[in-house]
Symmetry: C2
Subunit: 388 residues, 2 copies
């Protein structure tokens, strides 16, 4: 089947700074991101014909009105997409389908989350506001089991995890919109207070607020807008769902995420990619925990199974490596306002491909990949963007 | 723009009985509805390539796994759509876009809600699990204000409201899957215990559990499946969002719902309909309260503004009238398991158009309309289906 390859263009992108926004609410944040995306595309907000908004937490907002109301875009379609941590990237996917179907010319995909003033409900655990069937378990505890298992089977060490944290903090220190803009040392990462053994505080991404927005259109329309000479097109967009709670299944081996493996395979097929490690120029991946980024390298085919620790030790995912991963600083530096993250990644990849990733630009990228994993481990989105 | 007119087909439909399903959970219900839809389409469940599931309440389920898990359809895309009471119909809309874009051949749109065993959280109020900015107010209280205002301005009476309840109960009494299968009298309706003056118990739809499912494909594929000789195509699908809380705005006049008016205008334009009262054969509309159905007649252009009471008094929406409305019995007889209702309506309209609406068949329908209003009043979906 044709997928959306080369049929959908990114006309403009925007994002707030990701941080603890005590002085702004979710509506302020969404407006800020969308205003930036409209300016970037060179369109007026009133030209938006339909909206898809990714929101995970009910306390951030419900229904399409979560976007239509703050934006004062009434009388047009607006849909809320909720798909765990991939909510924002799945909002983008559905926006792409509507444009590829020819139903709309210019639409908005966006995502937002306001977590910091929600008390413990905002903490990354799955007990409240989450799946009704899951027993209480925090995300750190679940990913700590993956880390422990990889230490046992692959020989991963605390140092391997720390390398991810050090790399991503160094990248985020240069990004104007990151939550944490400071470098850390290996000693900082390894010696940080324990959260869930073996994952310390610097192995975990933070709780942050933020919003991001993407203006989606067809290539022939993008040619008439601001980025007519450097607009970006979708090469693939895939999403795969496994069970809601793979980590609770007796058969789960904790050595990788089938959702990522399947979504990557689908995306590579759609984009015509046979050797991702060579053909993908750079990637923004879901580093909710340092162990997750190591497993993402493997699941996305950047290296062999069990080779994640060696992949980073050899410098491949460094900003000047042959496959920079999370040049933005990733979730480690941005935090993870759930609904916003996927659209932030699309925005980040777009700016990189256009050579305007201020402070963190990678060299001459051709194809950029964005990856979200949610659930935890239940659902994965992979989007591949390229120069037109 | 082209919309989806004649580009998307309904290959099969299914629905559970809508009732208090104490002995089944949301996963049982969804499986039952999807199994029926697959049998109806003549496909195996494994032929489904992607899923959109409408779920409103977080306690029913989260993310695409709300459908993928019970159906054991792993490794394919599954997306949760939440758009207040239009969640199910918006799931269908997004499924249609993906098919119209040519990305998938056969997909599933479905919706489910399990409310009866959730205590007061399932009651139709907007205090818990709903929009964070709304003050506590029940749906009956809000729609009672519309009823009061229409009594004052249009001269509507309790008898006018009762006519809707009597008609829909009489229809539902003949429908094998309705929650309430009994006729009521005008005296029953008018004398029922008061819920929120002037709306009594029989002016309100009930809290029910249920699931519904629609197999969506392209016409050329439908021609090879079970309903090759009588498959149904989408003529239009429109959704319009106004503010999340129109009923709280000082400017809201309580005499109709702009979301319905706008969505209907968009749908009629897409379907090429200029005179809905003559061209629409029958409609399944959102009668969450009797007053809502009267206002729907007006907002959908079936009669003039303020003419809703006269429209039913003259018998137009009766099963043997010239524009039967809610021949199934509507939300009055089925209750309103939020995520399920939109897909149930699509299923209902499909069966009517195919001449197999057991017990409640209308005469020779050409075009059927389905209508959801949610929010309350914030968002409206209108779908028009026709014979291929």
């Amino acid at each position: 089947m044709p997928g959306i390859r080369d049929r959908v263009a990114v006309a403009g992108v925007g994002a707030t700074r990701f941080t603890e926004h005590w002085e702004k609410d979710q509506e302020d944040l969404l407006c800020e991101a969308v205003d930036e995306a409209c300016r970037d595309a060179g369109i007026d907000k009133s030209e938006i014909q339909a909206i898809w908004v990714g929101v995970y937490y009910p306390f951030t907002g419900l229904a399409g009105t979560a976007a239509a109301d703050p934006l004062r875009l009434y009388g047009i379609p607006a849909t809320r997409v909720e798909n765990y941590c991939t909510s924002g990237m799945d909002a983008f996917r559905n926006a792409c389908f509507a444009v590829a179907a020819g139903v709309y010319d210019i639409v908005l995909a966006c995502g937002v989350e306001k977590i910091t003033d929600q008390g413990t409900r905002g903490l990354p655990n799955v007990r409240e506001g989450a799946h009704p069937f899951l027993p209480a378990a925090s995300a750190p505890a679940l990913f700590a089991m993956a880390a422990t298992r990889c230490m046992e089977v692959f020989g991963f060490t605390k140092e391997d995890f720390a390398r991810v944290a050090v790399k991503n903090h160094a990248n985020g220190a240069k990004h104007p919109k990151a939550h944490f803009r400071r470098e850390i040392t290996m000693e900082d990462a390894i010696g940080a207070p324990m959260i869930s053994d073996p994952l310390g505080r610097l192995d975990c991404c933070a709780v942050s607020d933020g919003a991001a927005a993407v203006i989606v259109t067809r290539p022939e329309i993008a040619k008439r807008l601001n980025h007519k000479d450097d607009y970006v097109v979708a090469k693939a967009n895939a999403i795969a769902v496994t069970t809601a709670a793979p980590m609770y299944k007796p058969s789960f081996d904790y050595l990788g995420f089938p959702a990522t493996q399947i979504a990557a395979r689908m995306a590579y097929e759609e984009a015509g990619i046979t050797d991702p490690a060579r053909q993908i120029s750079f990637a923004e991946v879901h580093d909710c925990f340092t162990i997750t980024e190591l497993l993402n390298y493997e699941d996305l085919g950047f290296c062999s199974k069990g080779g994640g620790a060696r992949f980073i030790a050899e410098g491949h995912p460094a900003p000047d490596g042959d496959l920079p991963v999370n040049p933005s600083g990733g979730l480690k530096s941005f935090g993870h306002p759930i609904g916003a993250t996927g659209c932030r990644m699309i925005a980040e990849v777009t700016r990189q491909l256009q050579g305007r990733a201020e402070g963190v630009q990678v060299r001459d990228p051709e194809l950029g990949l964005a990856h979200n994993l949610g659930g935890p481990g239940a659902v994965c989105s992979v989007t591949i963007l390229g120069r037109a």
